[in-house]
């Protein structure tokens, strides 16, 4: 794949699958998406990271051609979603935030119905169903009703369903929200395999570990705007320090410690309700310096910076706070 750095060919570049410029979505007086611009290339895993209400889902719905934009430009697979919705959707695979499976039907029937929506012949649907259920590890449940399946199984079935038309782009809105850790890892594993097969992934998440695991490139959204863009590593390098020292003090000493610790040699200090974070180059050296100030934390932890720290730096809030 040729990708000239600084290429300005825009929508004419066939490798650009999605192109958005000043894309805006308003609901009455409320602006959910506030003039965002981005480009997405074939084969990328691209993420929208942000808390609830950042405008991620609204953006995804516009890309999915089920929500008309209020302003700006949007082109998907070289087409306009307003004019060519059905033709674009024929080449997308959508995994919505909320499961929309028909729980009264069987696993197989769900794929059959969906395949027909794409105008696929029955023989093609049957062949793909067998393969896809194998892929999402649900082959032995093919004839079972969907209702009693676990949350993780339903999510995997939704992923299989979204692949029935062999999409060029997959849109995943909060793909693992509400799943337990084990089920999340199974979903991540499947998505990672799809990515390796060359499927372009677009996902939204408010889990920084999900973004780090799956995304080649991501944008951080807050309040309907893009506040930063880059690969997870680039973002961490640009907006955080290599290491973070996390300190916990007795609640009675927390405020006083927060005052005193300001003298420690840190690039930046975040005082949270329960912890104090010191952004530093070397965590162990910083801890020694803190002790040198006569402070003895209850617990201390030295860790590498994550996207969570990037988000905190950019917005002053934690991702889960929403």
């Amino acid at each position: 794949m040729s990708q000239a750095p600084g290429s300005v060919t825009g929508v004419l570049d066939l490798d650009v699958l999605i192109h958005a410029k000043a894309l805006t979505k308003r609901f009455g007086e409320f602006t959910a998406v506030d003039g965002i611009s981005f480009e997405l290339r074939r084969g990328e895993a691209f993420g929208f990271l942000g808390p609830n209400g950042a405008g991620k889902s609204s953006t995804m719905r516009m890309i999915g051609c089920v929500s008309p934009r209020s302003g700006g430009e949007l082109s998907i697979l070289g087409m306009d979603p307003v004019q060519d919705g059905p033709a674009i959707r024929a080449r997308l695979g959508v995994v919505p935030q909320e499961d929309t499976l028909d729980v009264e039907l069987t696993v197989r029937e769900n794929l059959l119905i969906y395949g027909r929506y794409f105008g696929l012949p029955k023989s093609v649907i049957a062949e793909r169903t067998a393969r896809l259920l194998e892929f999402v590890q649900l082959a032995e449940r093919a004839g079972d009703q969907v209702e009693p399946l676990s949350g993780g199984m339903k999510r995997r079935l939704t992923i299989a369903r979204s692949l029935i038309n062999e999409p060029e782009v997959m849109l995943l809105d909060e793909p693992t929200t509400g799943l337990d850790p084990q089920a999340r890892h199974v979903v991540w594993d499947r998505l990672f395999r799809l990515k390796q097969q060359g499927v372009t992934l677009v996902l939204t998440t408010h889990y920084m570990d999900e973004a780090e695991q799956l995304c080649d490139r991501l944008v951080v959204m807050d309040g309907g705007k893009i506040v930063a863009e880059g690969s997870p590593r680039e973002l961490i390098e640009a907006y955080s320090t290599p290491e973070v020292l996390e300190l916990r003090f007795r609640l009675s000493e927390h405020d006083l410690a927060a005052e005193k610790v300001a003298d420690a040699p840190a690039e930046r200090i975040e005082v949270l309700a329960d912890r104090i974070l010191l952004y530093v180059g070397n965590g162990d050296a910083a801890l020694a310096a803190v002790r040198g100030l006569g402070l003895e934390p209850l617990t201390s932890l030295v860790r590498r910076s994550t996207l969570e720290d990037v988000f905190l730096r950019l917005t002053g809030r934690r991702l889960e706070d929403g």
Partner: protein, 270 residues
């Protein structure tokens, strides 16, 4: 760069897309059809037995002049057929549609595919039409068994029943797409369907009502369905009168069709 980028899927026609949506309901119906057969058969048998034969014996003793000289069951049966069309249509166009967008969200799943909101609407109207054809046919056959048919024209009560049903289904489905709470439907059934069922000439001629209230009956769609089905079943239908009934019902169905295309789009494309 893959060649796939340059090969967009051939666009399918509206009818093909509507048929895809229709088949969704068909797959669902495969699980539930047994239950609906009971109501489709029992409904005419019970009503024609109790009202037609039971009550009818009493009515007929008082003379048949007010009923145009026919037995009560022959008068009643085509009216009940039209009312059954209304009931079938209202059942299909309320909770199943509302549930698809509110509870199961299968409509939201469908619009993520090439299908458009209007295709879903048309697909469900096709399914409602199929259910109406089934129920009307069973009803007419039951009428014949009860000896309540007076003319071969009665065969036309099936398409007229379907049209009567669609005159309800299309506007109500359009309305259902605008609702957030299912309580709207119990109100519709209580204050819409039941009064229409009782006062649209199903059980007695509208001319028995006080004169001032009769125009209300004449503007209700059910009265047109009842009047036309009755005229056909008794073999008394005239061309002009029938044309007015058909035009009125078709106009309502068409208005519902246009409104529904709009309400479906507004609900599913936000």
């Amino acid at each position: 760069m893959t060649a796939g980028t340059l090969a967009p899927a051939a666009p399918r026609g509206s009818l093909t897309m509507a048929v895809s949506a229709f088949r969704f309901w068909l797959v669902n119906y495969r699980r539930t059809w047994r239950g609906t057969i009971y109501s489709s058969v029992l409904n005419p048998v019970l009503y024609l037995g109790a009202m037609g034969l039971g009550l009818g014996t009493l009515v007929d003793k008082h003379g048949m002049s007010r009923l145009g000289g026919v037995s009560y069951i022959a008068f009643l049966a085509p009216g009940l057929l039209a009312a059954a069309a209304m009931q079938t249509a209202m059942g299909e166009s309320t909770y199943p549609v509302f549930g698809s967008v509110k509870w199961l969200k299968t409509y939201q799943a469908a619009v993520a595919t090439p299908l458009r909101p209007a295709d879903l609407f048309h697909g469900h109207l096709l399914f409602t039409t199929m259910r109406l054809i089934m129920n009307m046919s069973v009803f007419l056959a039951t009428m014949a068994l009860f000896g309540a048919v007076r003319s071969w024209w009665a065969l036309a009560t099936v398409p007229v029943g379907v049209l009567t049903g669609l005159a309800f289904a299309a506007p109500i489905e359009a309305f259902a797409m605008t609702r957030e709470k299912e309580q709207s439907f119990s109100v519709l059934f209580r204050f819409g369907m039941i009064p229409l069922f009782l006062f649209s000439g199903t059980f007695f001629p509208v001319t028995q009502l006080p004169e001032w209230i009769r125009p209300v009956a004449y503007i209700t769609p059910l009265w047109h369905g009842v009047a036309l089905c009755r005229a056909l079943s008794l073999g008394t239908a005239g061309l002009a009168g029938s044309a007015v009934h058909v035009a009125y019902l078709a106009a309502l169905a068409l208005a519902g069709l246009i409104a529904g295309q709009r309400t479906y789009r507004r609900r599913l494309y936000v």
